[in-house]
Each structure stands twice: as C-alpha cells, then as structure tokens.
C-alpha cells in the first residue's frame, strides 16, 4: 500500500497548481496569500516526496528494482511511444529530496528577500513552475519526458533571469542563457534521435538494458554509443555551463539572488550532471565519451576557478565557483565515479545555495551593492549571515569535516585512479581546489573584514529578517553534516552514500584494497593542505589593508574572463548577426519573401487592370461570356465523344 508512490504525479503537480493559482489570480492577492500558496504547494510536495521516498525504500526492499509507473500516453506515433511515465530509484530519491528540500528553503528565503520587489506573485509563480519542471526532469522515466522538464527549467530560468525585464542587461542575459542552451539542447535532441533510431525507444529501462547487452566500445572508437553519449553530453554542457557553453551562467546572475541560488547553483545547472549520471550505462559503454567528459569537466573546473580569482562582483565569484564545481562533478562522472559526482552535486547544492543566499543577505544588507570593493567590515553588523557564509566557505574549500571535503575528495581520488592520464586530471583538479579556497576566502575577507569601503550615511547595514536567516542556518547545518554519509569511508568503513547509490551505478567505484585505503588518506591530506594554501595566500593578500589596484597583465586577462565573450561575439555572434542582417533579412526576407508577396499583389492588380475591361457592365457582353464558358464546358464534356480515336470508343 503505497498511496503516494502509486500517484507519483502528485508531487510535481502541486507546484504546478501553485504556479497556476499565483499566476492567474495572484495579481489581486495580498502577499500573505501568495506566500501561503507558493510555500504550501512546495512544502507539501516536499513532505510528500519524503513519504514517497519512504514508500520507495520499502518497495525496493521487497523487489529489487526501480519503481516505474506509466500514468498516461503522451505521444504515440507508429511504434514510438513517449508516455508520461514517472520512475523512482535511489538517484531520483537524492535529486527529489534535494530539489524539493532546497527549493522549499529558498522559497521561504524568497518571501523575505523579494518582499519589497514588484511582481511578487509573478516571481513565485515562476519559481513554482520551475519546481514543477525540475521534478518532471528528475522523475521522468524516459528521455522525452526528461527533455520536457529539461526545456521547462530552461524556460523558467529564462523567465527568472529576465525577471527585472525593465533592465536591458537582464533581458539580454535571459536571451543569452536561452540561446546558448538551445545549442546544447540541439545536441541533446540529436542524441535522443540517435538513441531512438538505435533502440526504437526512449524509455530508460529499454535503452539501458539494450545498451548493457552491447559490447563496450574501445577507447578512441567512435561508435553509435559514443556519438550518442557525446551528443547527450553536449546538452549537458549547455545546461550545466561547461566549456564551451558556460558563458551564460555568470550573466545569469542578473536574476534575483534566490533564483541564482535555486536554479543557477543548486538544481537546474546540475541537471546535466544528473542526466549524465542517469545515462551512466551509455557512458560506461563509451569510454571515449567518458574521457571527453572528464577532460571537459576538469578543464572547466580549473578555468572557471582562474576567472573566479579576480572577480569583484560577489555573485560573479560565486557563479564562477559554481561553474568550477560543476566541472568537478563532471570530472567525477567522467572518471566513472558517478556516485561521487552525485554526492558532490548534493553537497554542492547545500553549500552553494547557502553561499548564494548568504550573498543575497549581504546584498540585502548593503541595499543592493554587489561589488566587494564597495563592502568590507560587515562581520560585526550581520553576524548570522557572516557565520553562515563562513560555514559555506569552509565547506566549499574542502576542510574536514565539512561536506565538500568528502565529495571533492572522493572525486579527486577517483580521478587519481583513472586509467587514462588520471594523474594529470588529479593535478589540475587539485590546483582548482587551491584556487577555490583562495577566491572564497578572498571573498570572506573583502566582504566581512578589512575597513569599510562604503558610505555609512547612505547605506544602513542591517541583519536580514528571520525568514531569510533561518534557511541560512538550516543550510549551514546541512553543509556541515552533508558529507557525513561518507565519513566512515575515511576510516576503512564503508561509504553509505555510495552504498545507497550502488543499486543504480553498481559497485563500480570504491577502488578498495588496503593500498587504496592508504592512498585515500594521503590524497585527502594533500587536499586539506591545498585548501590551507589557498586560505593562507588569501590571508596574506587581503587580511591587511587593501586597495583596488588597476588591473593589468594576466590579472586583466582573467578579470575579462579571457575575453571569451568577446571571442564568441567576434567568431559566432558577429558573423551570425551579419549573416542574418545581410542575407536573411535583406536578401531572403526583403527581396525574396516580400518580393514574392508584393509581386503577387502587383501581379494580380495588373491582371485585374487588364481583365476588368470585361466588366463592361453590359449584360449582353456578359451573356457572351456565359456562352464562352458554356462552350468550354461542352468541349470538356464532349471531347471524348467527338474524338473517340483519342479516348477509345465511349459506350
């Protein structure tokens, strides 16, 4: 008897309901009602999710496989069927809990943060819609439905980035996010087509069973599976902001901070990771793709970290750190440690959400100021925020016993053991870790210590209301404890999280053995040392009095993000715009299409000018025309009769 599990659709439906209510009626409602609807729907779906998980665990114990239930047919064409099928397995459990839980917390936070913003109901309507699509994404049992959620969250991200649609930059950022994602989705769709062409189905079960029966493709071989996996990964790069499609995420910070926390840190951007992990069977059978994933992930982690070093906008820093952390996740997946990747995904969801919300709280306190050079010495004024931020920073920096220590550690460990140039990957990852702890502590010092760099008379720094701080504390607690599932692994015990996910990913990782045990200890010590180095460098540079130096040289390059945007502008956007303006607009649209239309118009007018002479208004002439018509008809009728030779003898 599993009431919720059997009606899994109810979990995503609740946020949709909230979205509809707020979106259609919320305009007239007071804030309280809007809050009630939004929080109620998300909170309830969180509770139900927990219940569903409980029921699922019971279900799993009795019969050892994922729970899949088709609810109704969505598309049925020929032998193609895409049903509204929802599934629940350990991976889903993690995602659902993260999404609903973190989502719920961020909703609470938003009620405080957005209190003084216009379009209050609109914001929550969008947020609920996002929840709906995200849940669809994680609950989907086939690629088609997953793609629905995929595109849906993309839409919501677009809507929320452009929430302040009166700001040009915001709308541009929204467009950028949307368009860049299109590129990735293009690859994703191609991947789906290929999969369907190969397996004649998009259901996870079917596809993965078929795949697992196929032989594992050799390294460097580009077989169907490899190509499919790469195409899917292309989608992932788009959604999860990996090289080369990461450019949209930093701009996405134009959106309200809770949005950055929920969508662009905790949940949506991890969808790519989830998707890759979900289709791990494909990837494990395509080592080439795995390698690519690992390299891209690793590169992104390092690359984004370097940019993060010098950013001055507090949210930009966090954005690049997000990109870099996502890189870690992909690195984990790439080297086959899907469990580690998902583990990092979860912990990252906690501490990055925490960091963003804390940053939001800071911005709130500063009355909208985002530039760290305009802050400083805030620690005594906003203690709660400070402590939470500090927790998050320590967590991301990877000091034990905080969450990221375990997750990042296990990723690096797996990378180290990866057969293809694992050491290189490990090294780069380690450097990224150093830089991570550096730029995070840089952020801490610039924001909370050192002397004030703002005008007291204009900015009245104040602690945020409780409905913002409480979620902060909860998240801080989570980022502290989130990693404890893996705690025993350190002392030869077993990794509960990996254990939990084992049914999904199989006991692939855990390159155990006594040697592995000792190696793991050394590596984790190395990691801690790396974090400590970052901390010390940051302290050395920013603990004393600081002033903004004019940036030049490498600093300048980093500050301008390697001019990647400019590069894209020059290489892709510029030519495309030129092509559109000159060819598609001037030539195709104006000349061809408009030409055709006008040509038709003027042509018909010309015809009319000539033909209207027949409209003499003289009935007798009309009579003659009738005659002509009659003759034509008669000719058509009698032709066969009059020329039997042509048509054979009639009758």
């Amino acid at each position: 008897m599993r009431p919720i599990l059997e009606n899994l659709w109810i979990i995503p439906l609740l946020p949709l309901l909230g979205c509809a209510l707020n979106g259609l009626l919320g305009a007239k409602w007071p804030k309280k009602t809007v809050d009630a609807v939004a929080l109620g729907s998300t909170g309830l779906s969180f509770v139900l999710a927990i219940e569903a998980v409980r029921e699922f665990l019971g279900f799993y114990d009795s019969n050892h496989h994922a729970f899949v239930k088709p609810f109704f047919d969505w598309i049925v064409a020929g032998n193609f069927r895409a049903g509204f099928d929802l599934q629940m397995d350990q991976l889903t459990v993690v995602m659902v809990l993260v999404v609903t839980g973190v989502g719920f917390l961020i909703h609470i936070y938003s009620t405080g943060y957005m209190a003084h913003e216009g379009g209050y109901y609109r914001f929550f309507s969008y947020l609920n819609l996002f929840m709906f699509f995200m849940l669809i994404l994680v609950l989907a049992a086939n690629f088609a439905l997953l793609f629905v959620g995929w595109e849906g969250v993309g839409l919501c991200s677009y809507l929320l980035i452009g929430f302040y649609f009166l700001r040009k930059t915001a709308t541009n950022a929204g467009n950028k996010a949307f368009i860049v994602n299109r590129i990735g989705d293009f690859g994703f769709m191609l991947g789906m087509f290929l999969l369907f062409r190969t397996f004649h189905s998009l259901d996870f079960a079917v596809v993965f069973d078929a795949t697992s029966k196929l032989p594992r493709e050799a390294m460097g071989q580009f077989g169907t599976l490899t190509i499919a996996s790469l195409l899917l990964f292309m989608g992932a790069t788009g959604k999860s902001a990996q090289i080369p499609l990461y450019v949209w995420l930093p701009d996405a910070m134009e959106g309200p901070t809770p949005v950055s926390a929920l969508i662009h840190a905790a949940t949506m951007v991890t969808a790519g990771v989830y998707m890759v992990a979900r289709s791990h069977v494909l990837f494990t059978h395509a080592p080439t793709a795995m390698y690519v994933v690992a390299i891209v992930g690793c590169a992104t982690a390092f690359f984004a970290a370097t940019i993060g070093l010098v950013q001055s906008d507090i949210k930009k820093v966090l954005a690049y750190s997000t990109v870099s952390q996502l890189g870690y996740m992909f690195l984990g997946c790439g080297v086959g440690a899907f469990g580690a990747g998902i583990f990092h995904l979860m912990t990252h969801a906690f501490f990055k959400a925490l960091l963003f919300l804390a940053a939001g709280s800071v911005i709130h306190a500063m009355g909208g100021e985002q530039d760290m050079w305009g802050m400083g010495g805030l620690a005594p004024k906003i203690k709660v925020t400070f402590w939470c931020m500090l927790f998050g920073t320590i967590a991301i920096a990877g000091f034990p016993p905080f969450a990221a220590f375990f997750s990042k550690d296990s990723i690096l460990f797996s990378a180290y053991n990866y057969e293809h140039s694992g050491k290189a990957l490990y090294t780069i990852g380690l450097l990224a870790a150093v830089m991570t702890s550096f730029y995070m502590f840089r952020l801490i010092w610039l924001t909370f210590f050192t002397e004030k760099r703002y005008d007291e008379h204009h900015v009245h720094v104040h602690e945020s209301p409780s409905n913002m701080t409480v979620p902060l504390m909860i998240l801080a607690f989570l980022s502290l404890t989130g990693g404890c599932f893996a705690l025993p692994a350190l002392f030869g015990g077993k990794d509960y999280f990996a254990e939990f996910l084992a049914p999904v990913f199989g006991a692939a990782e855990a390159a155990g053995g006594e040697a592995g045990q000792s190696l793991e200890h050394t590596l984790s010590i190395v990691a801690v040392v790396a974090a400590a180095i970052g901390l010390l460098v940051a302290w050395r540079m920013y603990a004393k009095k600081v002033q903004r130096r004019p940036s030049q040289g490498l600093h300048k390059v980093l500050y301008n993000k390697y001019y990647v945007d400019e590069l894209y502008q020059a290489v892709f956007v510029g030519p495309l715009v030129w092509l559109s303006r000159i060819v598609f607009w001037k030539v195709v649209d104006v000349t061809l299409i408009d030409g055709t239309v006008n040509g038709i118009a003027s042509g018909s007018r010309a015809v009319g000018d000539t033909v209207r002479r027949t409209q003499s208004g003289n009935t007798r002439s009309y009579a003659v025309w009738v005659l002509v018509g009659a003759i034509v008809v008669l000719a058509i009728i009698f032709w066969p009769i009059l020329h039997p030779a042509l048509f054979g003898e009639v009758r």
Binding site: R612, R613, Q615, S616, G617, N618, T619, R620, A623, V624, L627
Partner: protein, 100 residues
C-alpha cells in the same frame, strides 16, 4: 412513328435560337423569354428521351423544370419591374451601373 432524333435535333435548334435571343435581344423581358425558350428546348429533349427509353423519369424532370421556371419567373419579373421603375428603361445596355 417519329424517331427520337428528330425531337432532339428540334430541341437543339430551339436551344440555339434561345441562345441567339439571349445574346441579341436588348429588352430584358425578351431576354428572359429567350431563357424560357431554352428551358423549353431542354424539356423537349427530356420528354423525347423519356419516351425513347420508355421511362417516366424524364417527364418528372420536366415537371421540376417547369416548377423552377415558374419560381424563376416570379422573382425575375419582380426584379425586372423594380429595375424598370428605377432605371426608366428596359434596355439592358442602358442598365450598366455594374461597370468598373
């Protein structure tokens, strides 16, 4: 016994004459009458066929044609009366407001 062809040819001739009248009469009433003439020619053909095939259907059709002609005459003449009242002329060539 008269061959059916004779009737058919006669009806063809009448029809042709009807057309000629239809084109060459200027008086709208006369044109109308030419149309009636054509209808009659067709009726003749109908009856001839029905006789030659020994079936009554043709005659039924003639009845229908006559009914239609009656209705047509009613409305048509009404229109003609109005036209004549407004245009003060029955010459179709003078009723030419419908030109470009």
């Amino acid at each position: 016994m008269v061959p059916t062809n004779y009737y058919l040819i006669l009806s063809a001739i009448l029809f042709g004459l009807g057309i000629v009248g239809f084109v060459f009469k200027r008086n709208i009433i006369a044109i109308f009458m030419a149309i009636e003439l054509m209808l009659n020619a067709v009726n003749l053909a109908f009856v001839a066929f029905s006789q030659s095939f020994g079936k009554v259907d043709g005659e039924v059709f003639v009845l229908f044609v006559i009914v239609v002609a009656a209705a047509e005459a009613t409305v048509g003449l009404g229109i003609i009366i109005l036209t004549a009242r407004n245009r003060r002329s029955l010459n179709v060539e003078r009723v030419d407001l419908l030109k470009l």
